[in-house]
């Protein structure tokens, strides 16, 4: 099947306006907290105020006595009631915690759930929570990876014997294949070797909608209907079923409108099990809405790595080998996401560059902080920052411009498909062309002029470049077990032609702002050859969508979800063609499908409409011999390989020399995600992602003090970009379809955040005096900028 066989509707590739806008601008979106049930009760969670402490006693008597309180339960009381969680990323040899939604004898991070109250409403529940008396015996907190690895370190999980959760290394020797090249020898023989240690700080997705769960209770069975703000309804259903011992067919999980997720809502959380547990126990609906202060300690942050990176070059400045040793600060125990982001950093460390030999070792370490999880980019920003900074540090030593150094080392276009030294297959692209195009943009010329103007006005200014690729269309089911994922990597769509001939598509993907509702309608309208407004697209309900393991994450909706939609549509059209042929008394091979009709090729007569064919399909009495009545089909697509989007970011910074504050007045962003279903959506993903990257580069960070208290528990302490900070952003595209999706689409969801921090940090370095101490961590805060400005220029 190829793209050219598509019907000629021509909706794909056009910037069709969003279907979601009408309800969103009217305030008619429906999010979890908007869902109410009669007799509902509200759950709140008592969280640990200590980073590390033994629980001596929990007294709930006073809380229970409050009018309107229905249940007050401790971790000890729940331990045998709810089973342990599963892990989406289950890396070989990984250690796990108790896996229960409430801790029992010990707390391991500020915010760890200790007890639960269910009461009449949020206000009463919080009153009761405040009345619970917990006696803690504080223990020394482990707040850095160095403390965690010290020989005499306090242990978070005594049974582990140390604070190391899992290790991983590359290259991976595969039996039957040649030995991987020796990176140590390559580095020894290198003409130039550069080495530096880089830190990517702990940051938080901060979707504007916090997490929330509402569970309705039906005594039949009993049955549970769970509304939850998640990217993965089927995964939540599996987790709840396993932990509560309720069969999956009695649980319905619905993700309604999801108010932002960014990977943070990709996996199961404790409250998603606690709420249905209490619905069963109290035999009434129960709700939970995460409050913003608890989101800062209860929703998974991400990044938080420190990497020592060493790259060797030959006399022509081509990379000969790479060595990396890095630590992942995993927080107090693996979340459902496990050490997945840390694994991805190593596997994708080579990025877009041809690196012949690697020696990479990753160590995931537990500390007394909130468990780490997924956030847009998933390990790739953590790989991109060290790589792109180190290339900039290497360039002067090699006597080259940073752009030229990158050009020499990018995977050349004739090398695709290209297997990296860590075993990743890069599907397609023209990386050097992309780099060249960025510098040919009029916006880049503007950027150079503006830099000179800022400097002439007496302020430091600089320009930085970073290249990246993004691993998307995750991923082939056959590969998943090799990388520690136990589920499948395919996705599904069902297509129904209704009795009136209109089309309804139900995807197993979950929208969370990426406007799949519009993009999939375009894809379906083209494939069915019907007007766009004849198609509706539905999502997010395990009772109506087909099972999918992974759902929406890893930038896989357009390519994998979209390909499954194509398969479902083609099956439906094929069935209609056979019904039409039967009605027209023609050979099915002579019946063509065009303009929403089925007609005999060359006969000139008016064909049969969708409504006519559908009516026959549902009446059922006049169908081809042996055909089942009805018009509903299922498409399931498993890609042969990943697809790598890619791009380049160029950033200009303008620095206030008195305050050290950095502005980013301009960015150029070149990008290729293969076939674009809707260019408007692609641009929106890039622009929004780039601004999140700007926050990660300059202001966002969750710092913990030496006692393990987080320095940010609200938006006052955690500075996300606001409107005056937006750069003039010049976005341009090339289109290199992936051969591994039926529609040629690669993902775009995470591209914006991967290289923007690197480009901005490179630009800040460029603005500092020549030879200033290298910037090695993000965010680059004003005090660091001032220190850099104070350095004497090198001569």
């Amino acid at each position: 099947m190829t793209v050219t066989e598509q019907s000629t509707g021509g909706y794909v590739g056009r910037s069709i306006p969003s279907r979601t806008g009408d309800r969103f601008v009217r305030g008619a979106g429906r999010y979890v907290d908007d869902v109410h049930h009669n007799r509902e009760a509200t759950m709140v969670v008592l969280r640990s105020p200590h980073a590390h402490a033994r629980i001596v006693s929990v007294d709930t008597a006073a809380a229970r006595a409050i009018d309107g309180v229905y249940a007050v339960v401790t971790g000890a009381e729940l331990f045998d009631e709810i089973g342990p969680q599963q892990y989406l990323w289950d890396l070989p040899g990984q250690k796990t915690g108790h896996g229960r939604p409430l801790t029992v004898d010990k707390v391991r991070h500020v915010g760890e759930p200790v007890a639960v109250v269910v009461a009449r409403d949020q206000y009463v529940a919080e009153d009761a929570r405040d009345a619970i008396e917990v006696v803690y015996e504080p223990l020394p907190a482990v707040t850095t990876v160095d403390q965690a690895l010290a020989p005499d370190a306090p242990l978070l999980h005594e049974e582990w014997g140390d604070n190391v959760q899992v290790r991983a290394a590359w290259p991976v020797a595969i039996p039957g294949l040649p030995e991987p090249p020796d990176a140590a020898a390559a580095l020894v023989g290198a003409h130039t070797v550069v080495r530096e240690t880089f830190t990517t700080s702990r940051i938080l997705a901060n979707s504007m909608e916090t997490r929330g769960v509402v569970c309705d209770y039906d005594p039949t069975g009993p049955r549970l209907t769970i509304h939850t703000s998640t990217q993965s309804p089927h995964q939540i259903r599996e987790g709840v079923a396993a932990m509560l011992g309720v069969p999956e067919n009695r649980i319905r999980v619905i993700a309604p409108d999801v108010g932002g997720a960014f990977g943070m809502k990709a996996v199961l959380y404790p409250e998603e099990v606690l709420v249905p547990y209490f619905a069963l126990r109290l035999r009434r609906p129960v709700r939970f809405t995460e409050q913003r202060d608890e989101a800062f300690v209860a929703s998974t942050p991400s990044r938080d790595q420190r990497m020592e990176l060493e790259i060797g070059f030959d006399a022509d400045a081509r990379i000969v080998g790479l060595r990396a040793r890095y630590l992942i600060d995993l927080g107090s125990a693996p979340s459902t996401c496990g050490a997945g982001t840390g694994w991805a950093t190593g596997a994708l460390l080579c990025g877009p560059y041809a690196v012949p030999a690697v020696d990479i070792q990753a160590t995931a370490v537990v500390t007394n902080k909130t468990p780490l999880g997924a956030y847009r980019g998933f390990g790739q920003p953590e790989a991109n920052f060290p790589m792109e900074r180190l290339l900039d540090l290497a360039a002067p030593q090699l006597g080259l411009d940073p752009v030229e150094l990158r050009r020499r080392n990018l995977v050349p276009p004739d090398a695709f498909p290209f297997t990296t030294a860590t075993g990743q297959l890069l599907d397609s692209g023209d990386y050097p062309q992309m780099l060249g195009m960025a510098l040919d943009r009029p916006a880049y010329a503007e950027m150079l002029r503006e830099r000179d103007q800022i400097r002439a006005a007496g302020r430091p200014a600089g320009i930085g470049v970073a290249f990246f690729n993004e691993c998307t269309n995750f991923g082939p089911s056959g590969v998943f077990p090799l990388i520690g994922i136990t589920t499948g990597g395919w996705d599904a769509t069902s297509a129904t032609v209704e009795p009136d001939g209109r089309v309804r598509v139900v995807s197993s993907q979950t929208p969370m702002g990426q406007d799949l509702e519009t993009a999939f309608a375009q894809l379906a309208a083209d494939r069915f050859g019907v007007p766009l407004d004849h198609v509706t697209v539905r999502f997010g309900d395990t009772d109506s969508s087909h099972y999918t393991a992974y759902a929406s994450g890893a930038s896989r909706a357009a390519g994998i979800g979209g390909s499954s939609l194509i398969l479902a549509a083609d099956k439906a059209v094929d069935k209609m063609r056979r019904i039409a042929a039967h009605l027209l008394e023609a050979d099915p091979d002579d019946v063509e499908h065009a303009d929403g009709e089925f007609r005999v090729r060359g006969a000139g007569a008016t064909g049969l409409s969708y409504a006519t064919v559908a009516a026959a399909a549902y009446q059922g009495g006049n169908l081809p011999e042996g055909m089942e009545p009805g018009l509903e089909t299922l498409g399931a697509f498993d890609p042969q390989a990943l697809a790598f989007s890619y791009g380049v970011v160029v950033a200009l910074v303008d620095i206030d020399p008195d305050t050290g504050q950095v502005r980013v007045p301009r960015m150029v962003f070149g990008h290729d995600c293969g076939t674009q279903l809707n260019p408007r959506i692609v641009d929106a993903q890039i622009v929004g992602g780039a601004l999140q990257g700007l926050g990660a580069a300059l202001t966002e960070e969750i710092v913990y003090d030496e006692s393990g208290q987080p320095g940010a528990v609200g938006f006052a302490d955690y500075l996300m970009p606001i409107a005056p900070e937006i750069p003039e952003l010049d976005v341009f595209h090339t289109v290199t379809p992936t051969p591994f999706a039926l529609n040629g689409a690669k993902g775009v969801g995470e591209s914006g955040v991967i290289a923007a921090p690197s480009a901005i940090a490179n630009a800040v370095q460029d603005a500092l005096p020549a030879g200033a101490t290298p910037l090695t961590s993000i965010p680059v805060l004003p005090e660091r900028v001032l220190a850099g400005l104070a350095e004497e220029p090198a001569r």
Partner: protein, 193 residues
């Protein structure tokens, strides 16, 4: 506020609950609230207007912005009792009674000034207030618009579509004032009406 303001039917409860009355988007609403009940919760849970969203509960993000007697307010930081007898306009009250979108609402769609939609109600109300001020004679350059929009946080869009939408709606509102919009949709409520 004195106890003589209480409707005679208000039950005396130990929680201090009493009946509050408001005009919400032109419709009368009367419901019980405790003194500590914030306006956002009152609107969402007592008045059934779930279009107003709460995100930070600390006044930083502006998702919960509503108009109280024509002026924007953080409904998460406003106690419901403070708005007793007030005219409230929520996001649901910005469109015309016949469902026609305001210029700014339509511009948000045209410029993709939203993605997940969660912060959108706050921006719709904030932008509506800014446009009303412009109609009353205030002038906004781009820097001033960006400053005003910094009242609210959006995590998805990078703001570009929101700024473009507001600039376009402002320009069209000033070129071609719509008498219906100018008068306020429900006879009152919008600043500058």
């Amino acid at each position: 506020m004195t106890t003589t303001d209480l409707p005679t039917t208000a039950p005396a409860r130990p929680t201090g609950e009493r009946v509050l009355t408001m005009q919400v988007n032109g419709e009368p609403v009367a419901a019980l609230a405790e003194p500590r009940t914030n306006l956002a919760d009152f609107l969402r849970e007592r008045a059934g207007r779930t279009g107003t969203h709460t995100s930070c509960h600390q006044g930083w993000c502006g998702a919960c912005t509503v108009l109280v007697d024509g002026e924007s307010a953080r409904s998460c930081l406003t106690l419901a009792v403070q708005a007793d007898r007030a005219e409230i306009t929520t996001v649901e009250g910005i469109e015309d009674p016949d469902g026609t979108l305001s210029r700014f609402q339509q511009a948000l769609i045209d410029h993709t000034g939203f993605q997940c939609g969660f912060c959108t109600p706050g921006f719709v109300v904030l932008g509506t207030e800014i446009i009303a001020e412009a109609r009353a004679g205030a002038r906004f350059d781009r820097a001033e618009l960006l400053r005003r929009l910094s009242a609210n946080i959006c995590r998805c869009t990078g703001y570009a579509g929101i700024v473009d939408a507001l600039e376009s709606a402002l320009a069209s509102a000033l070129e071609d004032p719509d008498p219906a919009e100018q008068a306020g949709r429900h006879g009152s409520g919008e600043a500058g009406a």
